[in-house]
């Protein structure tokens, strides 16, 4: 026990004597949280449209005003030149070109079918689909209002948004971004840690002491755990005070999940560190793991949309559990009653990973 305490003391001294590392561990992630939280917004807020009107009748003009009056749509270009309009689409100046055919008004008043063309920039597939849906909705409303003279059917379904009634994207993203930041710092620090001792040669000094293998790993794990917890709490304070993220659930349950999760991630870091020869190798492996974890965590694209095998991988990685659980605890007020299976799985991970790390650490040299 005393050995472990001494090791912890040594690690803390090393950390706090390096001012550059302290800034990187605490200030850099918090700045990222403050800035990047404003970046993540998938909502379709503005649709820029170009208007291509071969008819120029009263009816087509009234359709144009329907679009202009819609808070989502902004007219950026008005031209009959099809090629010029397509260039607008290519340069991202317009997201959709709405093209009204010849004799639009005459045909409709004489009950002859006619067709409006929408040309949509669909590189972002889901945005393209939504632009189509919204444009269709406006045109259909126009059709029933102006031509059928019936009130468009009221909304059939009454929708209620639970947990995030304002549909605030920040509420959704900030807990996830914070988890990623804590994960990146924690995993990288531990992955580099033992590799660094190997490179400078100080590992030899520890290898000849009576410190046991598990004590050594524990001595590395606990200080990083403290830093990770500190960082998460700092981030939560920012999320709460500056971004007004609700905390519905029990903070202690959140803390429990955090500790178990950090044990898993730091254990993975230590495992990398015991297996590599140089810090550079450690960094590249950590980079690989972090990229996969970040993109498969369900933070950016939800796990339900992934192909079946992707969902399987996503359900294997600890970060997807933790992001999901953090959101559930903070925003939905879920507790151990709902989430205990995830806690059990994370705990098993923690035990397995750290045991493997202890076994992988060799005190003997090759």
């Amino acid at each position: 026990m005393r050995n472990v305490l001494l090791l912890i003391q040594k690690e803390f001294k090393q950390i706090f004597r390096n001012k550059a590392m302290l800034a990187i561990m605490f200030i850099m992630p918090m700045i990222q949280l403050l800035i990047l939280s404003n970046a993540a917004d998938l909502e379709l807020k503005r649709v820029y449209f170009a208007w291509e009107d071969a008819d120029k009748s009263d009816l087509s003009t009234s359709l144009l005003s329907k679009f202009e009056n819609n808070p989502l749509f902004y007219l950026t270009h008005y031209s009959d030149n099809q090629e010029q309009n397509d260039t607008q689409l290519g340069n991202n100046k317009a997201d959709v070109i709405i093209s009204i055919p010849n004799d639009f008004e005459r045909d409709l008043t004489n009950k002859i079918p006619t067709t409006i063309q929408l040309r949509i920039n669909a590189i972002d597939g889901s945005a393209g689909g939504l632009i189509a849906t919204y444009s269709n909705k406006i045109i259909n409303e126009f059709y029933s209002d102006e031509l059928l003279k019936v009130k468009a059917t009221k909304r059939i379904v009454e929708a209620r948004y639970l947990y995030n009634p304002a549909l605030n994207y920040k509420t959704f993203m900030i807990p996830g971004i914070l988890v990623i930041l804590v994960t990146v710092i924690g995993l990288l620090l531990t992955a580099l840690n033992i590799a660094r001792e190997k490179e400078i040669g100080t590992i030899e000094q520890i290898n000849v002491t009576p410190i046991k293998k598990h004590q050594f790993i524990l001595g590395k794990l606990l200080p990083m755990l403290a830093i990770g917890i500190g960082e998460f709490i700092l981030g939560m304070a920012i999320a709460r005070l500056i971004f007004h993220i609700p905390v519905v659930g029990n903070p202690l349950v959140q803390l429990l999940f955090l500790v178990v999760y950090l044990c898993v991630m730091l254990g993975i870091g230590l495992l990398i560190s015991t297996r590599v020869q140089t810090q550079q190798q450690a960094m590249f492996i950590a980079f690989f793991i972090l990229m996969v974890f970040m993109f498969l965590s369900g933070l950016f694209s939800s796990i339900e949309n992934m192909p079946a095998w992707g969902q399987m991988i996503a359900n294997l990685i600890p970060i997807s559990y933790f992001i999901r659980d953090t959101r559930s605890i903070l925003l939905k007020g879920a507790g151990l009653k709902e989430l205990y299976p995830d806690l059990i799985i994370l705990s098993i991970y923690a035990v397995v990973v750290n045991t493997v790390a202890v076994l992988a650490y060799k005190k003997t040299t090759d």
């Binding site: 063309q117 059709y143 690989f288 879920a334």
Partner: protein, 366 residues
């Protein structure tokens, strides 16, 4: 010149004699783009919902069958609101559809039916998309029940430009290429000087007749060759596995990618000149670049949704410009003039970063 060639040869040997690191550098991007490229999907294809049918009448049962008949929803019937809410809370379902007891009577009276859709809105984008899909399904249902208006005279013809099948990969693959190349290149050179500082070999370099600019070139060129291999691997995957189209010139695509890699390598070198240890350099380049490049490049989150000050920051991200160029060359078949400014900006960034590195690079001993 002769000195420089010898120095480059030495650096290349350095890389070649550490095959473990080299193979990581080449295989890792390959694995990443395969895994993440396939898994990141933004189309919501399938949603689990809970249906609480209080009516339990012919028409409501029909409605549920209709919901399940489509591919979008799989309905789980529940017998109480509590049960439904528990499912929602534990992430088993994304929405609850509540059919009120007077459903059938209202349908027969041609009244507005009373349906309530309660959505898990933590992810606003998913919630609103599910709502839109649900509305579409219900609209169809009520139209077939003869509750809707006369046949449409006004048809809408949608042309999805650049991405007719609305595939996610068209948006994600260019983004993924940018993020992976940026990080791997910056990581490779970020330790180039710091490692020499730590091992003490930097002093040998400083007393050699090599000029600082020659040292930068000599450190960057070998890694540029590695990035060329990376580019080749990534592009082959993009065209074969992900079936990305190539609307423009392949040569131009490779040249621009090389320029982008050069920019990232220079950035890594810049980090190296400012860091005192490998650990600091790696933390800055990995923890400092990963999330900002992902979030501020427009890869996932549209830049036009961001607040103005943040849009200003995105101008500083090389990835933002590179993604734009990739989309022009791969998807849009635009003339070179459309993205010439973007290339110019990348070039300018590379020059500025190199100039700052030169300024930082001190030939004097500390």
């Amino acid at each position: 010149m002769h000195n420089l060639l010898i120095f480059i040869r030495k650096e290349i040997l350095h890389i070649l004699r550490d095959p473990r690191s080299l193979s990581i550098m080449i295989l890792m991007p390959l694995a990443e783009i395969l895994l993440i490229g396939f898994v990141m999907r933004f189309e919501i294809e399938h949603t689990n919902i809970a249906v609480y049918d209080m009516a339990k009448q012919h028409s409501s049962v029909q409605l549920i069958q209709r919901l399940e008949g489509g591919k979008r929803f799989s309905a789980k019937t529940v017998d109480s609101m509590e049960e439904a809410e528990r499912l929602l809370k534990s992430n088993k379902v994304k929405a609850i559809l509540r059919i009120s007891p007077d459903f059938e009577r209202k349908i027969l009276n041609d009244n507005e039916p009373t349906l309530q859709l309660i959505l898990d809105a933590i992810d606003p984008n998913t919630a609103t998309t599910i709502e839109a899909y649900m509305n579409a399904v219900l609209n169809d249902y009520f139209r077939d029940q003869g509750m809707s208006y006369s046949p449409q005279l006004l048809k809408i013809d949608q042309l999805m430009y650049y991405n007719p099948m609305l595939k996610s990969v068209y948006g994600t693959v260019p983004g993924l290429i940018s993020v992976i190349l940026m990080l791997i290149c910056a990581l490779m050179t970020s330790v180039s000087l710091t490692r020499e500082k730590e091992m003490g070999t930097l002093n040998v370099l400083l007393i050699s007749p090599l000029k600082p600019i020659q040292i930068i070139i000599g450190k960057v060129i070998p890694y540029l060759l590695v990035s060329l291999v990376n580019i080749a691997v990534i592009l082959v995957l993009a065209f074969t596995v992900f079936k990305m189209p190539l609307a423009g010139s392949l040569l131009l695509l490779i040249l621009v990618s090389l320029l982008y890699c050069l920019c990232a390598l220079a950035l890594g070198f810049l980090i190296s000149t400012k860091s005192q240890s490998q650990q600091v350099a790696m933390m800055v380049s990995l923890a400092g670049l990963m999330l900002p490049t992902t979030l501020l490049s427009g890869m996932i989150y549209p830049i036009k949704n961001m607040p103005m000050w943040l849009q200003g920051i995105t101008y500083l991200m090389p990835a933002r410009w590179f993604i734009n160029i990739l989309k022009h060359i791969m998807l849009k078949a635009s003339p070179v003039s459309a993205f010439l400014p973007d290339i110019g900006i990348l070039l300018l960034m590379t020059l500025v970063i190199t100039a700052i590195s030169l300024h930082n690079f001190k030939v004097r001993f500390k």
